[in-house]
């Protein structure tokens, strides 16, 4: 058995070393993307494609509903207060009208004093 000097061992190891095969990151990803483009990719399971006309139809319906809320409710942020009277016309003859607002119950009483069932002047 012959003994090799360390210098020879070092040289032979250097020449017989396999290539690492590691590529730089940019080269790897560009190669990966190029390969990915070559084969068809299946779409994810369960995805739904909504037609454009349906999307616009729904959006228009929702906009109309929001507008209706704003018009009829006096705005989305309107707060609930008590019941109250906006306008009044008393056709029957009477002597006075009283409006009483009860704060604890937030109720309103409209009381027509001395109302007669005979037709009279309106208030």
């Amino acid at each position: 058995m012959s003994r090799l000097p360390w210098r020879k061992i070092e040289t032979s190891l250097r020449t017989e070393r396999p290539e690492s095969g590691m590529k730089p990151a940019d080269a790897f990803w560009s190669d990966f993307k190029a390969r990915a483009r070559l084969c068809n990719q299946d779409s994810p399971v369960g995805s739904v494609r909504v037609p454009m006309f349906l999307r616009w139809g729904l959006a228009t319906t929702c906009a109309a509903a929001l507008l209706a809320v704003v018009v009829t409710q006096g705005g989305l942020g309107s707060t609930e207060g008590g019941s109250h009277i906006k306008s009044l016309e008393v056709v029957a003859s009477h002597s006075a009208v009283m409006i009483i607002e009860d704060e604890p119950t937030e109720s309103t009483i409209l009381w027509i004093v001395d109302m007669s069932l005979d037709r009279g002047e309106s208030t």
Partner: protein, 136 residues
């Protein structure tokens, strides 16, 4: 794509919310106010305290009741010789009260859920009749 579907679902939710906000019912009760005892005050528990605090009568009894859906479209109900016609939504409800064919009053009101609106002073002999409107 997912964002688009989320927006559509949100819009549908708002639409349903607005529809439910508009829908409801209106109860109308006819109450007899008198100085003499008579009749039952059952079904008036929510308004008796208001009557006793604000009106000069000692006895209140339920003379009739009815209901209608809101929004109403000229919905007419008969209560003790009076007819009540309602049109519109809870936020802008037009009420017309007639006795027979005689128109007595027209009013436009805004009703809050559970908060009574009371129209009173309608003659009935020695007593007075009161209409109580409550949106549910």
């Amino acid at each position: 794509m997912r964002r688009g579907i989320s927006v559509i679902l949100a819009c549908l939710f708002v639409s349903l919310l607005s529809a439910s906000a508009q829908a409801g019912s209106l109860s109308v009760r006819l109450v007899r106010a008198s100085h003499t005892a008579g009749g039952s005050s059952s079904g008036l528990g929510d308004v008796i305290p208001v009557f006793q605090k604000s009106l000069p009568y000692s006895h209140y009894s339920l003379a009739g009741s009815t209901s209608m859906t809101l929004p109403a479209s000229k919905a007419t109900r008969q209560l003790g010789g009076y007819s009540v016609t309602c049109s519109g939504s809870q936020n802008s409800l037009a009420i017309t009260v007639k006795h027979g064919r005689k128109q007595l009053l027209n009013t436009s009101v805004r009703l809050s859920r559970g908060k009574p609106l009371i129209l009173g002073g309608f003659p009935s002999g020695q007593d007075k009749l009161v209409l109580v409107f409550v949106a549910r």
